[in-house]
Amino acid sequence: MLNKLLSPRISIKELFSRYGVLIAFILLFAISASRQGEFFLKPDNLRNIVNQNVPVGIIAVGMTFVIITGGIDLAGGSLVALVGALGLVFMNKQIDSRMSEGMAAILGSGLIVALGALGGLVQGIFIAFGRITPFVATLVGMVAFRSMTVVLANGGEVRSLSKNVWPDVGIGGIPVPFVKDTQGNPIVIYYGIIAFIVVVMVGSFILNKTRYGRYAIAVGANERASHYSAVPVNRVKLLTYMLSGICVGIAAVFLSGKMNSVASGSQGVNFELDAIAAVVIGGTSLKGGYGRIWGTVIGVLLMGIITNMLVFENINSHWQGVVKGVVILLAVLLQRERRDV
């Protein structure tokens, strides 16, 4: 990337269309730093900005794959609630029957991720073999998963019986000895942030280094040509939605941990749209065939910084949607392809 940045062949226009998000992010970061001064640059503040966006960020990595194949996954926000709720129900049962909290948490988080994968797989089957368009298949998932969650929680919320371990998954972390927080203690990097970093790295690896990653790009670029080139198109699609489901599962672990409960009607609502927004801001093409994980990460962080700015500037939080909308619009305008006839 640095090579390309420094290469003189690249025009200003190309620079903007390729690295526009990055430039915008750096700009906003600088503005925040100068407006908010020292406080903004405090390690805990930066950590908290990231942490607030961990669930959406993890879902957005899976979403990047889906969008690269030319699809869409609208079910993420509902699935994150459903698998979280199912996981809590399972763990509560285990704790009731005297399993240790730690063991229950290990089994529970495994189950949550597995159920996420299953949810993605089911959607993938309908999309790949049932030939239902991704929009419709995942719209069905979005409404059905939400409704299942509400049924499961009887309209209310599922509370975790875990007193220590599960909440710790949500708000605990690993202290980093060399960086001090505002109180002068070593700063704690939350587990969710660590998981986000791992998901991003694994995602980048899968997209850029594996055969599946290449196939995902190929399917998005030209499905028919892929089919003719012996690319297992259906398997690729299946795997893609499963991957997205796995990411949703991972997000559900930390989201349900942070709250130590799942509010059936509200948890995760609109997460899929925020994830799609992050992916699009990051420069991944909604037409499919092109995408980048690092762009998605910047997209997530960009939205985080904007929220943070609005809070600092004392702007009514109800305006957030408008600002987000404008940012998405600008990102797409900046990065849109020139139309070649």
Binding site: K209, R211, A218, A221, R224, A225, H227, G289
Partner: protein
């Protein structure tokens, strides 16, 4: 240049010192050209000679960097296709721009629907369409869905659309590339008719024999420059035009057929019936052999190929095809990933060889570079996006993709469609070399000369049935035409 006064009634389009620069490339430099009504004006040139750029400027898609377009003494500036159409210039693209799910009439009036206060007037729409089609002596019903039409009929609809917008200058880009021999004849006759009615026809084609047959004037472009203008009365010969285009003496287009075909069968169909075929088909190709598959469009050639590569269901019979590869006729649709780069395309069908789980990128790049060298692909480097390559080079990438899978049988569907003369002869050379190295080739082509020049043996199809086989000297245009059309020859 001064316009003659006697011509005042007829429109003249002057292309005045037009230069077009793309980043790093000068696609056209100082081209002067005059287009007249009532004339068939052919523009020829190799791929990359600047034809497409010229057409884009003429049809309002792009504006020239320098120079101007003068219509009837007035310099015009067009900012879109609509502007060009309003000025009487319409273009029929090589890739037809019709909407399959709309009717013929709806397509013809697309963008200029007759309406009253926004409400469509269907009867007027149908009338406009049938008037335009009648003018083309076509019996296509305006109410038919375009998706149900053959390629040739779709093309007629495109022409009708242009005429219904009162085009005085009609630009056709490679119109016969997708047509079979007989459909081509019909189209050429039609173009002559339109010329006699006063339409100026700009005819862009790689097929020099057609150009010689119908053009009143031929403009030759090479490397973005105008290198010659030949009038009918000065005599038009394909050899002369080809030499002007290439700028060097072309060696014989087809390489010598000097092969022995004693190899084992690499394709064997025994009484095989594929889905959509009424009759079983038997066919074989041996290693080292080049077999042609002839017939009109719609005779089932591509469908047969799909059967061989297992993209079409087999109902009965036995197929022996150990390592088949199919180089598609449809580069944009099924052949290539146009938005991906050269290397990614080349390795696409054989990705397992570049790593079981993780891909070995340097090995991929090596393969990309090796194929660029081996097939003399003219590309900046292995990372170039395939979309930006010329038709001939795209075809080579497609070929490389399949050769990379080390096939035993290579099915080439219209291997030189939309490819210029220079690249054409290179591709023929490649096919022959591959056959010599032991590959069995099955060539599907609508160009009879191609089959005659290239093949040892030609199997003819009609209505999805094998109607005969021609061997050696029997492979002649007359014999093929007779079999394809189902008439007996004296």
């Amino acid at each position: 240049m001064v316009q003659e006064h006697s011509n005042q009634a007829l429109m003249t389009v002057l292309i005045d010192h037009v230069t077009m620069d793309y980043p790093g490339v000068r696609a056209l430099s100082g081209v002067n050209l005059q287009l007249n009504q009532s004339e068939i004006h052919a523009i020829i040139g190799e791929n990359g000679a600047g034809k497409s750029t010229l057409l884009k400027i003429l049809s309002g898609v792009q504006n020239a960097t320098q120079g101007r377009i003068v219509i009837d003494d007035i310099a015009v500036r067009m900012t879109g296709v609509k502007d060009a159409e309003r000025l009487g210039i319409a273009m029929v693209h090589q890739e037809l721009n019709l909407i399959d799910s709309l009717s013929v009439a709806e397509n013809i009036s697309l963008g200029s629907e007759p309406n009253s206060l926004g409400i469509l007037q269907r009867s007027r729409m149908n009338r406009t369409a049938s008037d335009a089609l009648n003018r083309l002596k076509s019996d296509i019903s305006p109410k038919t869905l375009v998706g149900e039409l053959s390629l040739a009929s779709k093309q007629l609809v495109e022409i009708a659309k242009a005429l219904s917008q009162n085009a005085k200058i009609l630009i056709l880009d490679e119109p016969t590339a997708v047509l079979a021999e007989r459909e081509t004849r019909d189209l050429l006759e039609l173009l002559k008719l339109l010329r006699d009615e006063g339409v100026g026809v700009i005819y862009v084609s790689h097929r020099l024999d057609e150009v010689c047959e119908i053009a009143d004037r031929v403009t030759v472009l090479r490397d973005g420059q105008l290198v010659g203008e030949v009038k009918r009365e000065d005599g038009l010969t394909t050899a002369d035009l080809a030499n002007r285009m290439v700028g060097r003496e072309l060696q014989d287009l087809y390489p010598l057929k000097l092969r022995d075909h004693e190899g084992d069968a690499v394709l064997q169909l025994e009484e095989v019936r594929f889905d959509g075929f009424a009759a079983p088909i038997s066919l074989h190709v041996r290693a080292g052999e080049i077999v042609g598959l002839g017939g009109l469009i719609g005779s089932g050639r591509t469908e047969l190929a799909q059967g061989i590569i297992r993209k079409r269901r087999r109902i009965s019979g036995r197929v022996y095809a150990p390592a088949p590869a199919y180089v598609s006729e449809d580069r944009k649709g099924t052949g290539l990933h146009l938005t991906l780069n050269l290397t990614q395309n080349v390795v696409m069908a054989n990705l397992k060889r570049y790593g079981l789980l993780t891909l070995n990128k340097s090995q991929e790049k090596q393969a990309g570079n090796a194929w660029i060298k081996k097939l003399a692909i003219r590309a900046k480097d292995q990372g170039v996006v395939v979309q930006s390559l010329s038709g001939g080079n795209q075809q080579k990438v497609s070929l490389a993709k399949w050769l990379d899978t080390q096939p035993k049988l290579l099915i080439l569907d219209e291997p030189t469609r939309g490819v210029d003369v220079g690249a054409k002869s290179e591709i023929y050379q490649l096919i022959v070399e591959m056959a010599k190295s032991g590959l069995g080739c099955l060539v599907i082509s609508s160009e009879m000369n191609e089959l005659i020049g290239l093949c040892d043996r030609v199997v003819m199809l009609r209505d999805r049935k094998v109607v005969g086989e021609l061997i050696g000297d029997e492979v002649t245009e007359t014999n093929m035409m007779a079999m394809a059309a189902g008439v007996s020859v004296e």
